[in-house]
Amino acid sequence: MKRRLRPSAVMGLTAVALALVLLPQIVSNPFAVDICIRVLLFAFIGVAWNLLGGYAKQLSLGHSAYFGLGAYTSTILLIRYGVSPWIGIVAGGIVAMLASLPIGALCFRLRGPYFAIATIATAQVLMLLFLKFRDFAWGAEGTTIPNLGNSPWMMQFDAKAAYYYVALILLGIGLAITSWVERSWMGYYLVALGEDQDAAEAVGVNVPRIKRDIYLISAFLTGLAGTFYVQYIYFIDPNTAFNFNVSVEAALVSIVGGIGTLWGPVVGTLLLEPTSALVQSWLGGSRGGVQLTLYAVILMAVILWRPTGLLGILVGAYERMTGAAPGGAPTATAAARKGASFDG
C-alpha cells in the first residue's frame, strides 16, 4: 500500500527541499553555515543512532566508538597511504560495521541500562587504545590532516558550501534508509523487539540477528559521520574522535526530537545545536560545562514531561487540529502512532 501524499504536502516538501539546497547560496555568514553543517551532521548521527536506539530500543551510549573508528580509518588511509577520503569514508564505515559485530555480540547479552553501560565501556576502551597507539595512530596528540587547498577529490573544499552539501547528502542517505526500514517488514520487527524482546521471539522474530543487522547499519552510518568530521575540522585525536559527547548527542537529539521517528533526530538537532552554539558564543569560548548542563536540563525536562519527544507533541497537536493522523500508511510506526495521545 502506497503512501498517498496530498498535493499540498508535496508542494510543501518540495519547497523545503529547495530551500535546503539553496541555503548556502543565500546565507553568506560563515558562522551560520557552520551551524547548519553541524545541524546536518548531528542530525545524521542522530538518525544513525535512532535506528538502533529509537526503533529497536537498544539504548547505546557508546556510538562514539564508531564515529572514532570511521574517523581514524579514513585518516590513516589518507595520511599513510594517500587514499582519497571518498574511499576512506566507505572504508571507515566498513571498519565501524565490522567492529559492531564483536561489540554487539558482547553487549547484547545485557539488557537495558547494563547494555548502555557496556557500550560506554567499549567506547572508552577504544579511546584508551588509541591514546596508547603511537606508531600506528599518532597517540594522544593526534594529527592534523594536510591542507591540500581546494581538492574535491580529496574531500577538501575552499567553499564551506561544499561541506554543507556533503553533509546534506549524508543526512539524506540516513533518512532514506530509515524511511525504507520503517516501511518494511524490518520496521515491524524492530519496533516489536524494542517493545518486548521475548514476546517478539515467540512470534518468530530472530531477535539476535535483527539486533546484529540494525547495529551494522547504525555503526556504518556513524562511521561515515566520523570521516566527514575529520575532513571538516582538519584534525583528529582520540579525545575528539571518541568523545563521549558524540555518544550523548547522538542519543539526545533523538530523544528530544522524537525517539523512534523518522524526523525526530532532525527536530532534536534543530533545537539543540543552534541553542548550544548560541550559548557558547554568549559566554565566549568553549565552557564545555555550560553546553552539557544545558543538554542535561533539556534531557531531563523532556523525560519528565514528554518522553516521546517534541515530535510527539507536534503530532499530537496536528491530530487535535485536523482530527486526522498524518499520512495514513500502514507502516509499523505509523500504525503505532495512529490514535495515540502520548499521555501515558
Binding site: M1, S184, W185, Y188, Y189, V191, A192, E195, D196, D198, A199, A200, E201, A202, V203, G204, V205, N206, V207, P208, P330, A332, A335, A336, K338, G339, A340, G344
Partner: protein, 242 residues
C-alpha cells in the same frame, strides 16, 4: 504416525528448586491435550522448555520430527509451534493490526500477504473493530485475544496456550472454548495449560496432571477426574480456583 510433540524425560532445576522432573508425554496430531496441576506444578516452565526459553537439564523435546532442544524461541516458532503467555505480552505501542502483522510476517515478508493473514487472525478472535487501537489501550481480555491472534498469524501447526481462560466470566469462557474448538477442527494440535476445570473437560481429549514438576496422572478427562492422586494433589495444597 500422528505424534507431533514428544517430550521425554524433561528436567529442569533452578538452584535448589526442581521445577520439572523427568516429564514425559506426547501429543497426537490434531489432538488437544491439557496440562493441569496446582500452582507451581511446573506447567509454564514446561512451556518455556518446549519453546526454547529455558534449556532443559535433561530430556528431549521432539516436534514434527525434529529435536527442539537448543533452538532459540524464534526457531521453534518457525518450526510450527506458537505459544501464548500466561500474562499477555502485547507490543504495547503498536496497534492491534501491527501486532498481528508482526506474527504474520514470519511466513511471508510481503506486507500485502501478511496484512491479509493478519486480518484473518484478527477476525477469528473477534478484534476486527479494534484493529487500529493501540495494544496498551486494550482491556486485559482483549489483550489475550490479541495474543492469540498474533500467535495464529504465524500459521502454527501446534499451539501452546497458557491459561487463556482463567479469569473469564461464564459467557467469555464459552466463547473461548468455542474458539479453541474451532482451531482444533481446523487441524491445529493444541496443548493448553488451564485451571478452569469446566473448560478443560470440555476441550481436552487427553490430560496430563503435574504436581511439583512431576507427572502424577495421565488419561482421558473421566479417568483423571476420578484419580485419587489427582484429588489429593489439589486438596492437599493451598491452591484454590479463581
Amino acid at each position: 504416525m500422528g505424534e507431533v510433540l514428544a517430550v521425554q524425560g524433561l528436567s529442569k532445576r533452578f538452584g535448589g528448586l526442581r521445577a520439572v522432573q523427568d516429564l514425559s508425554f506426547s501429543v497426537g496430531e490434531g489432538q488437544t491435550l491439557a496440562l493441569i496441576g496446582p500452582n507451581g506444578a511446573g506447567k509454564t516452565t514446561c512451556f518455556n522448555l518446549i519453546t526454547g526459553y529455558y534449556r532443559p537439564d535433561a530430556g528431549s523435546v521432539r516436534a514434527f520430527g525434529r529435536d527442539l532442544v537448543g533452538l532459540r524461541p524464534h526457531a521453534v516458532c518457525a518450526h510450527g509451534l506458537a505459544r501464548t503467555f500466561q500474562v499477555a505480552r502485547p507490543f504495547g505501542k503498536m496497534t492491534v493490526l501491527a501486532n498481528v502483522m508482526t506474527g504474520a510476517l514470519l511466513r511471508d515478508r510481503t506486507l500485502q500477504v501478511a496484512h491479509r493473514r493478519a486480518c484473518e487472525a484478527i477476525e477469528f478472535v473477534g478484534l476486527s473493530d479494534k484493529e487500529g487501537r493501540l495494544a496498551c489501550d486494550l482491556t486485559a481480555i482483549d489483550q489475550r485475544r490479541l495474543e492469540l491472534a498474533r500467535a495464529l498469524a504465524t500459521a502454527p501447526r501446534l499451539l501452546l496456550l497458557d491459561e487463556v481462560i482463567a479469569g473469564l466470566n461464564s459467557a467469555e469462557t464459552d466463547q473461548a472454548v468455542a474458539l479453541v474448538g474451532q482451531l482444533s477442527r481446523r487441524g491445529v494440535t493444541i496443548v493448553i495449560v488451564e485451571h478452569v476445570m469446566r473448560a478443560v473437560m470440555a476441550i481436552a481429549q487427553h490430560i496430563v496432571v503435574l504436581d511439583h514438576g512431576r507427572k502424577i496422572a495421565e488419561g482421558g478427562p473421566k479417568e483423571v477426574a476420578g484419580d485419587p492422586t489427582v484429588i489429593s494433589a489439589y486438596l492437599g495444597s493451598s491452591y484454590s480456583h479463581a
